[in-house]
Subunit: 349 residues, 4 copies
């Protein structure tokens, strides 16, 4: 941590500041500049001290130089984290495709979509049983029944399953049915939920809050890691900006940046990231080119009649299949593997 003094602070004041710092058991190194003096503070970061300094007379700014997260940082874990589930490795050189409807609607729907995801070469079935909705009057999902339908469809067709868990008390039941737990964008800073999934060993897909910085996303991941669960994936799903033509602005630069800062796998959600079907295909390819470890894409057999109204961003089965064919060509150019035939016949362990 570094404290930067205001213009022309007295030597005496600087000594008082140094004294205050030393009371925290930290060392202070003073460097005098032409119009500012800099105090380097050596030792573990103390948020309270940082804030106190920031508003002490004679201090203009305080800059933190060590990151607030450790377990999520590549500094402390140089190698990529690879999460293996039933023989499928997430975070390595294999591209992972998660596909499925916004919401599980009934047995036939999810079974048919699972069949199509597998046939196209996807490895994971996505689908919502519990839906977070901005307004109280919208369809909220069919609940536990949907978890069962999804689990069965996954087993039958040889796909892993991922679904959202919205509240701590549902973590155990969802973990019983799903292979991967999803934390939604609105819950990225629902700290009790983060702590609870941290007590399990289930892989967790943590979606970036639609206005969360990279630092906040990695701190949210830190909650889960600190709880003892190392199986965390980060997910870019679009951020809120001044541009309202698209539902969100997909921040693909997050992919290489998060891979630099952290060792955790990075997944992209181009469906929520764009909110419009015709943009999903294009941005999916861009996501692969940006080096994503995987994608989570909405696909529906009858999007025009989906129950959530998210049909507008769901691909038709044939679009989805064509897109995965393109991934097969794109992946090698960015050092990834993706073999649709192999995936279609892969048997989960």
């Amino acid at each position: 941590m570094i404290a930067i003094t205001s213009n022309n602070v007295s030597e005496e004041r600087i000594q008082e500041i140094v004294h205050h710092i030393e009371q925290y058991g930290l060392q202070a190194h003073v460097s005098r500049g032409t119009d500012r003096t800099v105090i380097g503070i050596i030792g573990q970061f103390e948020p309270a001290l940082a804030e106190q300094l920031r508003q002490m007379k004679g201090i203009e700014d305080v800059v933190r130089i060590s990151k607030s997260y450790k377990l999520a940082s590549r500094d402390f874990h140089p190698d990529d984290t690879i999460i293996e589930v039933k023989g499928i490795k997430i975070g390595g050189d294999e591209l992972i495709v998660m596909g499925g409807p916004c919401a599980v609607e009934n047995k036939e729907q999810i079974d048919e979509i699972a069949r199509l995801v597998k046939a196209a070469g996807g490895q994971v079935l996505r689908g919502g049983a519990f839906k977070p909705r901005t307004g109280p009057y919208s369809f909220q999902g069919i609940g536990v029944e949907g978890l069962e339908m999804m689990a069965e469809a996954g087993r039958k067709h040889g796909l892993l399953t991922i679904t959202e868990v919205m509240t701590p008390e549902y973590v155990d039941i969802v973990a019983e049915y799903a292979d991967i737990l999803q934390i939604g964008t609105r819950n990225m800073q629902n700290f009790d939920l983060l702590r609870k999934v941290g007590t399990t060993q289930k892989p967790v897909l943590l979606k970036r809050g639609f206005s969360a910085t990279y630092d906040e996303l990695l701190n949210a991941a830190e909650y889960i890691l600190a709880g003892g669960n190392p199986n965390v994936m980060l997910c870019e799903r679009g951020i809120r900006t001044f541009e309202t033509y698209t539902r969100n602005t997909l921040d693909l630069t997050a992919v290489p940046v998060l891979q630099q800062l952290s060792h955790l796998p990075v997944i992209v959600d181009p469906s929520h990231g764009t909110g419009r079907r015709e943009l999903v295909e294009t941005m999916s390819k861009a996501s692969v080119a940006a080096g994503a470890h995987g994608l989570i894409i909405e696909m529906h057999t009858d999007p025009d009649n989906s129950m959530t109204g998210d049909g507008v961003q769901s691909l038709f089965p044939d679009q989805f299949a064509r897109l995965l064919q393109d991934f097969e060509k794109l992946a090698p150019i960015v050092g990834k593997k993706f073999d649709t035939k192999k995936n279609a016949s892969f048997v989960l362990s």
Copy 2:
């Protein structure tokens, strides 16, 4: 709801769209323009239909014309909501001041601060017992013990108390001790929490998410109102923008806008809204001039040693008292009442 067609859509296609709309039991009125045709859709708004239309061939855009919230809207409740607690009216012509520390630290601290808040003319004691923290390694609050200390300090000095509740399972216990429940900015869309506080009759201060639109804030309030709890206050506490000099950008225009759109009381939090003590006084006065029904302000007897590091935005007791003197002069100019002496001697019913 209105559907706007693309350029040069065939009459036949328009008829197909109209037919699709009528299948929802809604009426469609077609107005043909020079280069666009508009289809007015009459009846209850259907989110799913809206999204379907948005991506049907021939449709360029869909515009909603009725609001998604009803109970929170002034259309459905023209008169201001006034929430009365132990003889104090929030939402009327009396300015309400909530003051206190970021976190309850110990019995002496909260008792002394309560004494100072009352003496200065405040009506409500604020303080955190449970703290939402971005990183897992920061001070998380002292918990239930803090609730007891606060409740006692409030009783002793004749102040209402407000504290944050972060998770559904804590609502009942917090409601037992506090007069007003606070929903924090990160929980504005924690829907289970909103539903749970909606089952009580406790007044709730709902903080705007730091990236929530007015519409999202009012929809979050709708969750609580729809649950059966009419005692909701809205709180502007700063939004996230590109400007990083201040922690947040305090959006004071939210005050008159929310008062137009809704009948619920609007409170401003200039402490989190600016993040710097020297700005809190100025922006507090601006908040009163903007017509806020009340303010929630951090005050601490020893901010330099506050446990949360939020001391930087806490006023000193004498600043707080001077500020309330200014409120007394400002209030009448904007049609509000604020009498520090009367408040200092007011006995809760």
Copy 3:
């Protein structure tokens, strides 16, 4: 300037970095931390060096500790700048009100509005002769003819005049007619225009770009000051955020912040800052309470038929007059003077 090293950089690499810094004729002070080392760089800031360091191996971040602007900074000019024009002082303890139409339309219109601004107690007549328009097909202003009409109306009614200048070649002609030159939000970084007005001694009202940081605004002011023109006023007029209900989000915190960082007068434009008449009155009062040195407010005798379509944000004459009555009461509470009668009879020198 400070360079912060990455985790575990070799001593040898640090010496190379120090050597590189010294080649710029600067001194480097090294402070070793537990997991980072900090290099304090003493001497005049060098942007090129900063960027080089930022991307040298072993460097994680570079932090600037002296401001990039000097003439605009309070560090180098502790006292408030007061700009005196024809006996009216801007930037001191007197509140300044600039009122008038978005665009000058004809002789009668501007004369009548000038009369009403003076009668209400305003000191400056605003009006656009040249209009910056997002699209090429909108009304672009009536040009030089409008300048003459405005100048005459100002002379006749004893008001200073302010109007926008959009391009360097028009600076001389506009300066001939107007008392104050306005640089619009879209031109805040039109550097040739800034340089050109810097060669005059005319007071300049510099509007903050709708997405400019405080630092960028002060750097833009620096261009004018560095050109030799010390008569610069800063103007907050709303920033672009994710909230689209209002045309812009008026950032009133800019007022106290800019007054801390700089000695230049700070004016607020609540008309463009909100875009809706019903919000202008409220936010004007909030601006005064926030400590603004002045306001620039749109007023029109027939807003429904204004030529620019900005009538929606123009006050009616009676609203304008009532508002100035409120300013008279508000000003003293924040240490300002505003006497409508005195202003109405004030004769320009």
Copy 4:
């Protein structure tokens, strides 16, 4: 255009509104809804009327349904615009790569970089002779001399040249030397500059303002097109968001969206869009996958000593060459052609 009434507006008031609309020579179609009534307004859009309606009693909102730009819209020009310069086609199925330094520094530098750009397979040489700088004390470019050096290097090595023009009076001189004129992000709404380049037939690369919406970018292009110059390219170069880790947030979704809304070629600038060399390579590939017609990339032989300090985002020559090899593999997957050998030996007509 559509006017939406408030809740429960009287039939009489609706008739007054209709009458007001008809005074503009427009037709009004009324559709009555359950809680709102909608008035469809048929005819050419009138901004002034829109604003008047917006603030008339009884009107809640006004929605525009025809775009404000016409010449830039795909509605009015269904086929892609292809700009041919000296035998090179921009906007078709050939990927265009523009490479070079941030600033032209001297004859040797630009000649050597031009040689490397050509050898790697690029088609256009970029370089700044005049630099827009946030602060007045930074290097501002070497001016006309730089234009001559660039033109000569382009001729010698068979590359088109592109450079920024910052002010109307320089358009003619820059047009004399450069093949493509660049309008920088800060000048996107410098309307005089747009009008002036509109009077030439020179190809123009129009950079999106760092906070401009798609609609504003297309309206800025409309200024140039309306002036009579059809040779406009749009350039995405990153937008300003709350995320400050990267200099800007590269909005790659702009590529497919702008290609939907408009027929103009879309170029991406990953150098300014990320601000960090290590991200430029990755995001360049993502840009190609997103369907960009071309890229403009900074490359420097000695970035650590570049004069602008933008070296941090400049690629080394070998990185640049490797990247173009990857483009050769990527292009066909998204239906584009890019042949480095053919380009390296291509002779300008």
